[in-house]
Amino acid sequence: MRVTLHKITKRFGSTGALEGVSLEINDGELLALVGPSGCGKTTLLRVVAGLETPDSGDILFDGRSVLSVPPERRGVGLVFQNYALFPHMTVFHNIAYGLKFAKNLPVSVPGRVRELLKLMGLEGLEDRMPSELSAGQQQRVALARALAPNPNVLLLDEPLSALDAKLRERLRVEIKKIQRAFKITTLYVTHDQEEALAVADRVAVMSVARIEQVGAPTEIYNAPATEFVARFIGRGNLLQGRVVRCDREELVLSVGDGFIRTRADGSLWVGQAIAVLVRPERIRFDRYADNILMGTVVGREFAGDALWLHIETAAGVLVVKADAAQSTIADGDAVQIGFSAADVWVVTDRRLPSTPSR
């Protein structure tokens, strides 16, 4: 089932939750919708579910508009952050609930429930009440309940936010696995960019009421289209600078008191204010690089497998992800760092104030 959202606008009072949002979720694809809280991503999910009616725009399932189809007949599976397991029903009855309304079931209701219990590793829990389950088990029951009636589309609204970090990591792998097994078109809403990158086939990043960028996780990470995406996704050094040289060979910007070289980009001109992104893991303690900066260590975070260093340079304070083996570096040490021009990504954000000089 391919889901198409076409110029969806939804306003609550005078505040717009969605402003002309268009988005495509391909058949069998897991698309993660990520953005800060209040950006409208949950509203978008609710529009797809039919729980909110858009003020304008259209929603198509396999090319057919479902605007007039009520949620109970849209065939969507829904998992909320708090799971909303019916507290007065057992696990079995929770999972079986949607089957009550399903037509032409290929198997019996208990058979289908058992199937899902097995798939989710929930066997033996069918007579428990939701309050007697661990958070992880509750999450799985919620997923099983949503999947039981064989929905066309799976909608997950912050499905892992209520869990602790370790469990979250484990379950996101499971969700991905199950989604693959069912080959079900899935919209996965989360505020956690790391989770989005880890789980999705494609990621859509939302800021306020708008989608900023849609793309594969690597594309989103390595080539953020806007300053917002660059800031929101991953850890990075976003540096504001001004173009001082722009020719066919290279692009040079002044950043703070230093200069940074990057690959040529014909669309820019001298004097323009732009932002560039350098990922921490691309910065090395290397003398032979396109960009060399001298600096002083002003902060360090030990993270087990890595060492994060804050280094004050002429271009500002940069975060560097170093090998944990280099843990001998101490606060106040003078260091030399470098990175290649190819690792400097120019964020071409039209909304940046740019004043052509000449």
Binding site: A49, P71, E72, F80, A84, F86, Y97, A102, A146, P149
Partner: protein
């Protein structure tokens, strides 16, 4: 909520407990032990007499049956209003919501008056229908019937259901219903499978309370029932208060009946307290539910679901507003040989400072008395209620629910029994109170105090105890934390509780009638007195004053502290 054990601070409990012991438990035991003794020796003879006699079995069963029917009727009428308030927008919605509490504080005598004026054989409704359909006989035989009793009880108590369910519904996470909807459930199944079961603790706790009130109802059964129906309370009243035999057999049977009734209503109170506990633990913070306008245009009149809602609105307007409007209309009307005319003479009569032999004082004095007694009773009951609410909300120990139920025992005791017990106990030295204002104030304080507890328990529960712990860690003493942290945060709830208590005191009649002497009349007592007079407009005018006073109080309160009011 932070559960704590007994500690020094709970010594505060001593004073209100002492008050209740002296003015409630003591007199009550004094009355009830009559049912457990024969010729001075302990005996179950009278209990047995009550439980084995055909007639008393009939009375007990009827009491239970009418309470059950009234509770069901209250649910049937109260639930849709809660639905309406949760799901729809309509003009004056906030005012309607705050006014739902008004019927509950009206004196039974006013409700009975309104019912007689509206539903009587010559009442507005029957006359209207007779004119409309050219009937020779009144079509609605509501007065002097079980239907009338049940409807009058529903008038009183449906708002309790509405308020309890409305509160529960607003706290119910809409995502449960949305999940069910996404799973394919239609509105009907969502309501049946999800909403209703999840609202059940709210509905049941409201229903338990309603059941207790209907079980104890006394003036409604007598006046709307028209003398052909007897409940345990009516029987206690007639046995103990009016059927006097020098051998005290009736007195003892009445006491035994009171004991049986108290066991049943205390059982329900225990059930209610438990449910309240369940309910409190269910609190979830959820986003407000979306609402839609109730009436979007003339075309709505042809949609079946809206049509059903409109019909419900019509029925409830007749049932809830009808009796009140009938009283108001009657207070402005004067029958004359020429047919009748609008008049203000009843108002000039009740506001006149002239001596009225019927009252032993002026009607104006009755208004002042009501306000004075109300303020005094509230001043006594409010601190007591605060302490008990604190104990119920904050402390946990074994058998605590039982203790809670016992604290709430005045709720399970009719005002007739409270007043009669006081009359029996405090009509002799060392403490001779009968006939004094103190007796009336004490009776009012005992009667209103459980309602204050009820209003304040959620207020205490919603207050984060960590705030107090934080204040104390910063060096504030416990009392200082109470004064500077808790009381300011509780102010809204306290005010709501105080206004509610005051309104209940204004409406109290049965106990006042039994304990007060001339010169100590209150507004409802004046209504009762005027009713025995030939001039019909005066009781309606006095009732209208009461209705307006409590309505204005609740509307003002709503503007001031909407959240606090909702919890009542």
């Amino acid at each position: 909520m932070s559960a704590r054990k007994w500690g020094g601070e709970q010594a505060l409990l001593a004073l209100p407990l002492l008050f209740l012991a002296i003015f409630f438990y003591g007199p009550l035991v004094n009355l009830l032990r009559q049912g457990l003794t024969r010729d001075g020796a302990p005996s179950l003879d009278f209990i047995q007499a009550v439980l084995t006699d055909d007639y008393f079995q009939h009375v007990i069963l009827f009491t239970l049956a009418q309470a059950l029917l009234s509770t069901l009727a209250s649910i049937a009428l109260g639930l849709p209003l809660a639905y309406l308030l949760v799901h729809y927008d309509f003009p004056l919605k906030r005012v309607v919501r705050s006014l739902t509490i008004v019927p509950f504080v009206l004196p039974a005598i006013t409700v009975a008056l309104g019912f007689a004026l509206l539903f009587g054989r010559t009442g507005y409704l029957n006359r209207f229908l007779m004119g409309l359909f050219e009937l020779s006989e009144p079509p609605l035989p509501i007065m002097y019937s079980l239907t009338g009793i049940v409807l009058a009880h529903a008038f009183y108590n449906a708002p309790i259901i509405t308020r309890a369910v409305h509160a529960a519904w607003e706290r119910l996470d809409p995502r449960y219903e949305e999940s069910a909807r996404a799973l394919g459930a239609s509105r009907f199944y969502i309501f049946k499978d999800i909403t209703l079961p999840m609202l059940l603790p709210g509905v049941l706790s409201g229903a338990a309370l309603v059941f207790i009130f209907c079980f104890l109802s006394f003036p409604i059964v007598l006046s709307v029932g028209g003398g052909r129906f007897s409940t345990i309370e009516v029987e206690i009243y007639t046995r103990v208060v009016t059927r006097l035999d020098p051998q005290f057999i009736n007195y003892k049977i009445g006491a035994a009946l009171a004991l049986v009734g108290l066991v049943i209503s205390l059982g329900m109170t225990y059930f209610y307290v438990r449910l309240q506990g369940e309910f409190a633990r269910q609190v979830e913070h959820v986003r407000p539910r979306p609402t839609v306008p109730l009436f979007r245009g003339v075309r709505d009149l042809f949609r079946p679901t809206r049509l059903v809602l409109f019909l419900y609105v019509l029925v409830s307007v007749v049932l809830f507003l009808g009796p009140i409007l009938a009283v108001v209309a009657d207070s402005l009307w004067e029958d004359t040989p020429a047919g009748g005319r609008w008049t203000l003479r009843w108002y000039s009569y009740i506001f006149a400072p002239d001596y009225e032999a019927l009252l032993g004082d002026s009607p104006l004095q009755a208004i002042f008395n009501s306000i004075g007694f109300g303020v005094a009773a509230t001043l006594i009951a409010l601190p007591m209620g605060m302490v008990f609410a604190y104990v119920i909300a904050r402390l946990r120990w074994r058998g605590q629910r039982l203790f809670d139920a016992l604290l709430m025992a005045p709720l399970a005791t009719s005002s007739i029994v409270v007043a009669f017990a006081l009359l029996q106990t405090f009509n002799a030295p060392p403490l001779r109170l009968v006939g004094t204002a103190s007796a009336v104030i004490i009776a009012h304080a005992v009667i209103i105090f459980p309602f204050i507890v009820r209003a304040l328990v959620p207020v205490w529960e919603n207050l984060d105890f960590k705030l107090v712990e934080m204040a104390r860690s910063l060096g504030a003493s416990r009392l200082r934390a109470l004064r500077e942290i808790e009381l300011p945060l509780l102010a809204g709830g306290l005010l709501a509780g105080a206004v509610f208590a005051f309104a209940l005191s204004l409406g109290e009649m049965s106990a006042t009638l039994m304990l007060a002497r001339p010169g100590l009349n209150t507004m409802p007592v004046a209504v009762y007195r005027f009713l025995s007079q030939h001039a019909l407009g005066a009781p309606s005018a006095m009732s209208t004053v009461m209705i307006v006073v409590s309505a204005v109080a609740f509307i003002v309160l709503e503007r001031w502290g909407e959240r606090a009011l909702k919890r009542l």
